[in-house]
Amino acid sequence: MIWSDAIRLALRAITAHRLRSFLTLLGIAVGVAAVILLTSIGEGIHQFVLAEFSQFGTNVIGIAPGKTKTGGAPPSGIPTSVRPLTLDDARALERVAHVTAVTPVIWGNSEVEANGRLRRTTIYGVNAAMVKVFTLRVKSGQFLPAGEDESARGFVVLGAKLKNELFGPENPLGARLRIGSLQFRVVGVLETKGQFLGIDLDDTAYVPAARALELYNREGLAEIDVSYEEGVPAGRVAEALKAVLKARHGREDFTVTTQEDMLRTLSKILDILTAAVGALGGISLLVGGVGIVTIMTIAVTERTNEIGLLKALGAPSRTILGIFLGEAVVLAAVGGLAGLTLGVGIARLASFLVPALPVHTPWSFVVLAEFVAIVIGLAAGVLPARRAALLDAVEALRAE
């Protein structure tokens, strides 16, 4: 039997019972729509979260002082020592291959006073390369000047929110500002960056690292952040950074974390989340599959006579199996297509009505959902189709 004929026969059988076939494929359609909708939301959240995390650029490596490990206590009672990370360390890392920018980071929380107003906020001690490492954008004025490390002047760059709180609509450039006990002069304002994990990135002030060390009376940096050329493996750069710092400190008393590693772990977690919600939708798809089993079983009973006739006309069991399997698959495939239209439509509508809701439907999900629907149809058809194929011709012809 020719394939197109088998499919045409299946379609004729399906359209002969319009309401019944519609309800059956509706079961599959609802299942596929649920899978598509849930995975679209899952994937949307995935992309949204990753975008939040990578808004500073994805090619960042962080170095923190101290090595996370547990060892035996030294026998003599001498306290172990960790050499702090210094501005010199940061400068040394600038010369490592593929490194594009290095910024020291010290952070703290202080009172800021300017324009007759007082606000407690987060202070970051950084250098000029900060803009490059974390892709910050300056709205007015300029960022901290380069090449002033230890002798940095008391300049400050304000986050968008902090500027508004302290200066309102006025131009703050050149204004004097007190942080803790130190005096600063405003040289720039940053563009809005938004919230990130509950930290308001706009409610911050950036001052030179040397001044922040002085402000918080610290001898070492909290972190050194390094950005490297796009496309270079993070591991290779991390190894090179480690080698330089080890040579300077004599041992590995620091911890290197690549953002790529963090993002990969995060991405894996979010993939599992998407798969989990997809599986929830899959349950309704399974119920739809049961609907196909039911309707095909009824069809085989109703058409026992016809099966006997087909055998008398010389259809081998294989052909009869194919005809009924074909019907189940066509039901599932058409239901799947309806479900895809429904699911993608609802997803589009949702993102149109609620723009804040992250929704994204990758093509691979669409193809996969349709494939799964067809496989479910095939599985649902096996039992009834086998029953049809194994019917005795004489008995089947005689059946009322």
């Binding site: 004729r12 006309l313 010389g314």
Partner: protein, 224 residues
């Protein structure tokens, strides 16, 4: 070489604990182009014999040689092929597929045989014209009269040019005049060289055949 040769056929059905001998030590030889009526009361085994001849059933013992070949030992698939190419069935209750048009019902055996669409529609159109059904091609069975339905069924049985036609009470569901038309049609096919085997309990119908086989309790009691 006879077209059909049955040698010592036995067919036993098991109903619960008891065994029913539907056919006992049956021998039958049919030459190509014969017109045979198989007659007998219900339960005499005439339908079982027809099913055996049509390869819808297998004997418990004995040999069935169709055109010189033992067909009882063929696989189910090979038997299906023989049915498709050599045998045409006509049933008492027509057995048309209700959701298909007359033309599609006639085309069904060719569809199963994998004959391409173009040749199929050409042969169907010719067959419908031959049987006076050209204007009914797009009607479904429930829109046809009994006689028209049986003519569609006969067109379907002959579309593959079989060597023999097996008819089980072909006029059983028709009035006398329509039945007469249908029998004339089948006899016309026989005149064209096709072997015609008709199962009936109607003596008038049986007397039209050139050879009559009477069955009783699974035995052939008369053959002339």
């Amino acid at each position: 070489m006879p077209q059909i040769e049955l040698r010592n056929i036995e067919r036993v059905f098991t109903l619960g604990d008891s065994e029913v001998h539907a056919l006992r030590t049956l021998d039958l030889t049919v030459a190509a182009g014969e017109y045979i009526a198989i007659m007998g009361p219900s339960g005499s085994g005439k339908s079982t014999l027809l099913n055996l001849l049509g390869l819808l059933d297998r004997p418990n013992s004995g040999a069935y040689l169709l055109e010189g070949r033992d067909v009882t030992t063929l696989t189910a698939e090979e038997q299906a092929r023989v049915r498709r190419e050599r045998i045409g069935f006509v049933f008492q209750s027509f057995h048309l597929v209700p959701r298909l048009t007359a033309a599609e019902n006639v085309a069904l055996p060719m569809m199963l045989a994998g004959i391409p669409h173009g040749e199929r529609s050409r042969r169907v159109a010719q067959a419908l014209k031959d049987y006076g059904l050209a204007s009914r091609a797009d009607h479904r069975p429930d829109q046809l009269s009994g006689g028209q339905r049986q003519r569609v069924a006969i067109a379907r049985a002959t579309i593959m040019h079989p060597a023999m036609i097996l008819a089980d009470e072909p006029t059983g569901n028709l009035d006398r005049a329509t039945g007469e038309d249908v029998m004339a049609l089948l006899e016309g096919l026989n005149a064209g060289g096709v072997t015609l085997i008709v199962v009936t309990h109607d003596a008038a119908l049986g007397n039209r055949a050139r050879r009559r086989v009477a069955m009783e309790d699974g035995r052939k009691v008369e053959d002339r």
